[in-house]
Symmetry: C2
Subunit: 556 residues, 2 copies
């Protein structure tokens, strides 16, 4: 069996190696346009920041063997042709046309063909985008060029266009290198994978580290004399010695389109759950292939190295007739921003509404370990669920607390269609150095259950903000302690500490709506129940408490 | 409705508060034998070590309110009677007899009664166990007494009898306090919740920190003049200035037994999944109540604060007629030992065999992040699955790598009966600062799949050890690099680096069995496949590689 794999970075080598392991007479060739094989593209921001000290580290095994052509031949018995571009697929004759480094062309026959052509950075046609020192971060060569420019100067003005995952990772890397950084994002928030209130927290964390975040801002031009000098936006100019374009990637599909393979609605190559394209002898895996959202069953495009690995294995198994299938993705994602982590899985609040769910959400900011453990850190957690089926749909988290663990527990639960009721009973590992006795994410699930069961009616901080601005008549009840009040408070709130609510509730007007809150709204919830039991009819709890307040805070 | 709750530490206050929140006319009384209410018993080792600086921290809310009687009255509207012992239950008349601090007795009527009597430390009848400075660690008073003894002396000889969770947590705490520590365990390994090879790794970590671990050792007496001076064991004497008895806890069931309530096979109070005892008006929750193992459906006894919280909520919901049920536990547990974490969930290897499963296991020691990330740490991971159903049954992990995340992902998957095939496709959150592109636990699941599908035959390091000792004829093939070999090697192994195996396989005898390995046996697996494809018939891979080798290692 002759297998040709086009693309040598992530899904390609994975597929090739596994086929060779499973099928002892398979003749496997990997064709790679660039120089480097099987490298950790996700590690590029850490190579720029200097955390990863040499590019060889990104393309070697844990024991230090560089994954080059010799490695693939000796260890994997896979033939590699790098500096070689696949230019056409002749499906009828099962033949690929290659353009070699020398310029010659060559044909290669296949029984099975695997497309692992990856993705290309999208470069919008903005005037001046061709100026020097404007980069994207697609491969090791880009990273080397960026590192060289950074090394030549001190305290550069860096502008990062695009506040998605790569944009924020590069922003952190540039911060490590001592740049003055501005991130320009066209949308109202950076990290569009996150719900707005979560993204806002991350923006605040960037600003606290001196990184300027300009959202709802459109880049209209780059100006400079040969080299870029400034970025022109609809909100003013920004001086720039270096610019990174990080406005997203597009699946590399030209070869597939030319060969007449089906392209999906996300513009990636359509595949079934065995990674077969519309031609059953041609497979696609990794960043060039379309994914399926596990929850909605709809096509989506989430290019990630973790998914590429899994898809490569499924493609190889299918080719070798080992039963396997790839169920799809949840859009799980995570990144580190200084000492913050930011992660998400499943559907966001708006995505869930758009998909037709009867959405219930909760905000649960709280320490991620018992408060008496000194390493406890604040974790902002949000869960999204469906009122009708009570299924968990999504989870988002940020803060200095442990994010990945909670996101991955949620991802596992969502994959199996767990309800919030089942979820809240999970027997997670517990000891004080790791988590509270009721882990944050289980406590959050219980808030959702309380809301669904009518024990608690929530209202988002931004809705309360709007009510105050509109001058609506309601009692905004802060039940925190006087000590906490001294640290920060919200203008217009009435203060009765939780312990005094039963005694002093006569001070409040029973006929007026009440919105109760505390630091995180756990005591706010208790206060609301006390008032409801006392005959107050319209009592809501402000989701997430003062920690999620988007407006002004008074600090004495 | 009158509710009486007996026990004020964990499940009791939780049940009481939730009932009061759900049921506005409920009259709720908590009866507590001791002084302190609602405290974090799991935090006691960290109070002893000084990490937690005062005992009030263990019994206060995150915002610093001490959870005493006044707090429960004002905030929760729950009446608390501490220093009060429940001495009898009159089920017919629904009445509890109480012995007050004054010595008087008093009767309290109930509509619903909740038993949250917790557990007692088991004190074995060893001669001399009544000597001074022999403690157990049941409550805050014990911790205060231990702290006082530690404060009086420097560099104490401390002996901890029992190497279970509490024993090892106390050992770590005492190490922080500068003691010379010996842990004495009757069984062949400490941490009986872990499989032997995982526990052995933890023992090595303790020894590396100067903590002596004496396993398979039975304490026969304590000797001393008033105060304990030495511990006598069947393996010799150990000098001791302080002794902690940590040989386990027993559910506190006397009250339930006297009342004729059904006791389960684990000697805890039998309950249904709504936490009702054999008397439908009497509930039990927390450490006094029996649990159900979610996988086997059989009764088990795993007393933990996390479970107590969940059971308390279910008891309260049932009493207030809010539908809820508690599905049981997986035996998830975790602890921190210096910079090691140790965790487990589900069934251990032996437990799984005893339960009748066709057990397949894998060992997957590997860095917990990409090797080029400096914070990557070694994680030893073991998975246990059933060959027939392909379901994941258990997970265990230890090392300096992140343990809790992997254990909790596995716990969530096992709860829903996920197969290893579904598990390996989980869309976990991925970025290099958090995990490898294929997370350790997904890679481990793929090893299990390879084994189940016949691509790989594993053999445990201890079996190989035995083969060497018995002088069996086989090729023990080390495929690591010469550099790795210089660091450490196993006597009797033949060395051919993986990259040279294809070229040099003629040096090996095709008719002899081969056991291949490398550092973690990933390359060992590749070597085995190469040899099998070349016609070697009996090729096994040593699970976990040299990192899991239990015998001698040669280091130059």
């Amino acid at each position: 069996m002759k297998v040709v794999v086009i693309g040598g970075v992530a899904a390609g080598p994975k597929t090739a190696s596994r086929i060779r392991r499973l099928y002892d007479t398979a003749d496997v060739t990997v064709v790679e346009k660039g120089e480097f094989l099987s490298y950790a593209g996700c590690g590029l921001p850490y190579y720029i920041s200097g955390m990863v000290d040499c590019q060889e580290a990104l393309r070697s095994t844990p024991t230090g063997a560089v994954r080059d052509g010799v490695f693939f031949r000796n260890v994997k018995d896979v033939h590699v042709m790098n500096h070689t571009e696949a230019t056409a697929i002749d499906r009828e004759n099962k033949r690929v046309t290659l353009k070699l480094e020398s310029g010659e062309t060559k044909n290669l026959d296949y029984d099975k063909l695997v497309l692992a052509t990856g993705a290309n950075s999208f470069i919008p046609p903005i005037p001046g985008v061709e100026l020097e020192n404007i980069y994207n971060l697609k491969d090791i060569h880009d990273a080397d060029a960026i590192k060289e420019t950074l090394a030549k100067h001190q305290a550069l003005n860096a502008v990062i266009v695009g506040g998605g995952l790569i944009g924020v990772e590069v922003a952190e890397a540039f911060h490590e290198m001592g740049c003055r950084i501005t991130v320009v994002e066209f949308l109202p928030n950076i990290l569009p994978m996150m719900d707005p209130e979560m993204a806002t927290l991350v923006e605040g964390h960037f600003e606290a580290h001196g990184v300027r975040i300009k959202t709802s801002t459109k880049v209209t031009a780059f100006e400079g004399n040969g080299k870029v000098e400034k970025v022109i936006t609809d909100q003013g100019e920004i001086p720039a010695d270096i610019v990174i374009m990080a406005v997203g990637v597009r699946p590399a599909t030209q070869l597939a389109i030319d060969a007449g393979l089906e392209i999906g609605p996300t513009r990636a190559i359509a595949v079934n759950d065995r990674m077969q394209t519309s031609d059953p002898n041609i497979f696609a895996a990794g960043d060039c292939a379309e994914k399926t959202n596990i929850i909605t069953g709809k096509p989506c495009y989430v290019p990630l190295g973790s998914t590429a690995n899994k898809e490569g294995r499924v493609a190889a198994n299918t080719i070798c007739e080992v039963p396997d299938s790839f169920p799809g993705v949840l859009g799980s994602a995570i990144c580190k921003i200084f000492d913050f982590s930011v992660g998400r899985t499943g559907l966001g609040e708006k995505e869930a509404r758009d998909a037709g769910y009867d959405v219930v959400t909760c905000q649960a900011p709280a320490p991620d370990k018992p408060h008496f453990i000194p390493s406890a850190k604040l974790l902002y957690l949000k869960l999204i669920a469906d009122r009708k089926t009570r299924k968990l749909l999504g989870a988002q988290a940020t803060g200095m607390g442990v994010v990945d663990r909670r996101i991955d527990i949620a991802a596992t639960a969502i994959t199996t269609g767990m309800t919030v009721d089942q979820f809240a009973q999970l027997d997670l590992s517990y000891a004080p150095p790791f988590s509270p006795a009721m882990d944050n994410i289980l406590a959050a699930a219980n808030i959702l259950r309380n809301k669904m069961d009518g024990h608690m009616e929530g209202i988002s901080p931004s809705e309360v903000c709007a009510m105050l601005e509109e001058g609506k008549s309601f009692t905004f009840l802060d039940v925190r302690t006087p000590d906490e009040l001294e640290q920060m408070r919200i203008e217009g709130a009435v203060h009765i500490p939780l312990g005094a609510v039963r005694r002093r509730m006569d001070e409040l007007d029973k006929t007026k709506p009440v919105v109760a809150f505390c630091k995180i709204s756990l005591r706010g919830y208790e206060a609301a129940l006390i008032l409801k039991q006392a005959g107050f009819t319209d009592v809501k709890v402000m989701d997430g408490g003062i920690l999620m307040w988007p407006g002004e805070l008074i600090r004495d």
